[in-house]
Symmetry: C2
Subunit: 521 residues, 2 copies
């Protein structure tokens, strides 16, 4: 993973000249005066890890699994939000952990948490490092040091139960590796968020990830039937049945806890047979409103496609993932992608029913080409962001969700907040996760970089967070809370909700060493 | 509701002579020497509610809504488990609340909880009073008095949003009344547990109820998208979107909390269009194992029927809900019911796919008659229980759930525990709730009453609880924890899980007045 950007540096994208022209002409984007810092230029504070702790950590997990070198520390600094990348590009390594520790087992993690509690060392659980909400930046206040607890060594498939269709995986397994191993058994999780190529299954659970095929395979939290969690106070083992009436569902308290309650050390996940057939198609709707009405009907009456997404007018026209064609799509309207995966008959049945409904509701069929193109490029956007940042644009994504009746208000409010705080930004939106009672809204915004692009974005982000809270939406549909959404999150769950979180935190992590400053307001 | 049994006394069933004969011949059941106590014979302790509290409660909710009369107190004594009924039949009113209070609003409940906190009065939230796990018997230790907080006056439909397909209901609304009002708008919840005719929507949420049509409409916890909760520490308002990544799902902490964390004062529930078509059918499978294998295929590969249930060999033969035919069904095998509700095309498609799969897997189609008969009698079993108790049988139901691979072991373990602790009992089982990764097992057991039938059943129940815990199942799929499952529940979630519950309880209800002794070990 590129330390200051996304993904495989060999796959870096160059902006096509037409896009560069458009950025200049439409948004007034100009190339930044200062080029991005090189790896060697990053300013890194000295490691504050006390030597005795270092020694004990080494004894615990093995010398080679405690790393204080610059490479390890820089690669575990922050996540992949735009402000995270902008800070790294500016050579700012201030938030680097003092050490990176790679335990090899649940037992080692339990011991490590005890050790760190004893020495007041903050622990940041680290999976793929793909957080876009500041989920990997611990507060240093009152702590002797901060370590990144990298789960890379917990990367086994523990068991596969083809009767119950459950696979037990370790948290550090990256999604592509998990899919590779499951594929040997004819199985898949079907979880493909944009972070897929780098994210881990533990991270998916800790942040309530939702994949692009959520209509068909469900959100990641739907897939989790069991969890083992290491906390400073011991082990939690949750999940004896798919569903239960034995009290509150405590799994749902760990899902979304972002490392603040404990470290997930194994996951029992529902798996499915690899689909025999896949089909992706495009539809055009006259407006975002008309397209949403069609999505809603499908979500409420079924059958559902496996993938269902709808771009608003601007996103449809710009086609962010296809910069080469910028400006060539003059036709008005909104692009909807429908994807079907499954057994042949099942795909045929759902496809036919969905197509009939979409036609009836004003959709115009555009063939498989837009669908296949979306499918091919579905992990590419973060690469494009790097190119846009280099070209002098401030670009970021953000998302929310709400009930259907609230979505128009939510959409308007976010757009207004962005336009009020950024200088003539390009604001694009799509709906990519639908439910019977509501859906998510995912925004991409591009504007010319100001002198201090971090401050610029933080200003816009504050306004958007406020707009979402006031419009009744949730502060995140699948990115999580991290540090960036904490204030809005507190407003969302209220004082008593915050107190519940603090009570649970106080019991599981009494000295507050786990990801301090993240999630809990 | 009959004070010492189930339902409408006018609908009481008499056992057909053939059943009486079978009970005598097969199980050695003889009529009890002492007939059940009459209403006037119930021994009721004097109300312990301190006069000043009584006065303040009356000021708060109005004189007419604070009741200390015998009728009110007896009708709010315990729930509807077999031991509950046996105790009432024996004239034992020891667990009666000292008063029944009927607040009229969220605000009044908040004030009531403060008042009761101040005076150390335990509060038992009371909906339909249909708990079968001791969920309505508060511990008296250390409390000045115990009141039943009857939610009957919070029985409005607050709003219906046909765009989002969400209805906001008050908790005291009984299921049939909710359905009646929703039906005027062409809507239904689709939630039909056996307690349907008396239970309330608040109770469904507080106990994670699951209806007989759960395959099609989902469990009740799946339907809840928003909750308002009154606690001694103030109000919780949860749910801004169908799903969210904004931290742990706190709704899932209230669902299943059985009144121990707060009183649910309003619910936002997903609703659906009333189905245009309904179809119920029967299938015969050569064995419970073969039938379960077919259910599993359907649950994992779809499409799902709306109702899917399978009786084991004994239940199929006895046909508990059809006592008139006892002994006439000589043919071996297991009866499966498949029900389909929805739009005509949807029903036709699912029905065809399910029928094809069932035929392929060894099912023999038995027409609509068994399905329709099941549908007609689906709320009748509790009436039959009353008749069996009067005839001298000890009869009770219990349930669990587990992953598919664990079900055979779970089934055997429960059967063994019952046979080891009861004298040649009749043990019947069905699967009535299926998921991709597992299913529930629902047992009915009948045996001859011993001299102390309460002690007899408690002995069996202890053995079964232990067997379920040791076999890896959950202690309840849809009945809840109450008092009867607390020990097993503690084993299920472990010490740290219990600590989490206590931490949350301590924050929301610091003086522990809410349903003490229920849920939390």
């Amino acid at each position: 993973m590129l330390w200051s950007g996304w993904g495989d540096p060999g796959k870096a994208q160059e902006l096509p000249p037409s896009v560069g022209k458009l950025l200049r002409d439409l948004l007034g984007v100009t190339e930044p005066e200062t080029p991005a810092a090189s790896f060697g230029e990053v300013r890194l504070p000295l490691s504050a890890l006390p030597a005795p702790v270092m020694t004990r950590l080494s004894t615990l997990v093995g010398d080679e699994h405690v790393r204080c070198d610059e490479d390890a520390r820089i690669r575990h600094t922050r996540g992949k939000s735009t402000p995270d990348l902008l800070r790294m590009r500016a050579g700012d390594g201030d938030d680097a952990p003092d050490a990176v520790v790679l335990p090899g087992s649940h037992r080692e993690i339990l011991d490590l948490l005890k050790l760190c509690t004893e020495h007041r060392v903050a622990v940041v659980p680290f999976g793929g490092g793909t957080s876009v909400v500041g989920g990997l930046v611990a507060s240093r206040d009152e702590y002797a040091a901060v370590i990144a607890l990298d789960l890379a060594r917990l990367n086994r498939v523990i068991s596969i139960d083809k009767v119950s269709m459950i696979a037990e995986l370790e948290p550090g397994l990256r999604a592509p590796q998990a899919e590779q191993i499951l594929a040997r058994h004819g199985l898949t999780l079907g979880h493909f968020p944009q972070s897929y190529e780098y994210a881990t299954v533990g991270g998916f659970a800790a942040t309530r990830s939702s994949g692009q095929a959520s209509a068909g395979y469900g959100r990641f939290d739907d897939m989790v039937v069991g969890l083992t969690v290491a906390t400073p106070r011991g082990t939690l083992e949750l999940g004896r049945a798919p569903k239960s009436a034995a009290g509150p569902d405590l799994r749902q308290l760990i899902l979304g806890s972002e490392g603040a309650f404990g470290v997930i050390t194994s996951l029992q996940l529902r798996v499915r047979a690899i689909p025999a057939t896949r089909l992706y198609e495009g539809w055009r709707f006259p407006s975002f409103k008309a397209g949403q009405a069609a999505m809603r009907r499908i979500a409420q009456e079924g059958p559902l496609p496996t993938v269902l997404r709808l771009s608003d007018e601007t996103e449809s026209m710009i086609g962010l993932a296809r910069p080469a064609e910028l400006g060539t799509l003059a036709e008005a309207g909104c692009l909807m992608i429908t994807g079907f995966e499954g057994a042949e008959e099942d795909v045929a049945h759902r496809r036919e029913a969905v197509a009939a409904l979409l036609s009836e509701l004003g959709g115009v069929y555009r063939g498989t080409e837009p669908g296949e193109r979306w499918h091919e490029g579905r992990f590419a956007a973060p690469y494009l962001r790097d190119a846009l940042l280099s070209a002098g644009a401030t670009v970021e994504t953000l998302e929310t969700a709400g009930f259907w009746a609230d979505l128009p208000r939510l959409y308007d409010a976010v757009g207004l907040a962005l336009r009020a705080t950024l200088d003539e930004p390009l604001v694009m939106c799509h709906v990519s996760h639908v439910y019977a009672t509501g859906a998510s809204l995912y925004f991409t915004v591009v504007s010319a970089q100001e002198e201090d692009p971090v401050a610029q974005w933080e200003r816009a982000k504050r306004a958007v967070n406020k707009a979402i809270v006031l419009s009744g939406g949730t502060i995140s549909h699948h990115h999580g809370v991290g540090r960036d959404h904490r204030v809005a999150y507190a407003a969302e769950i209220g004082d008593l909700g915050v107190e519940i979180l603090r009570a649970v935190k106080g019991r599981l992590d009494p000295y507050g060493i786990l990801n301090p400053g993240v999630l809990i307001p």
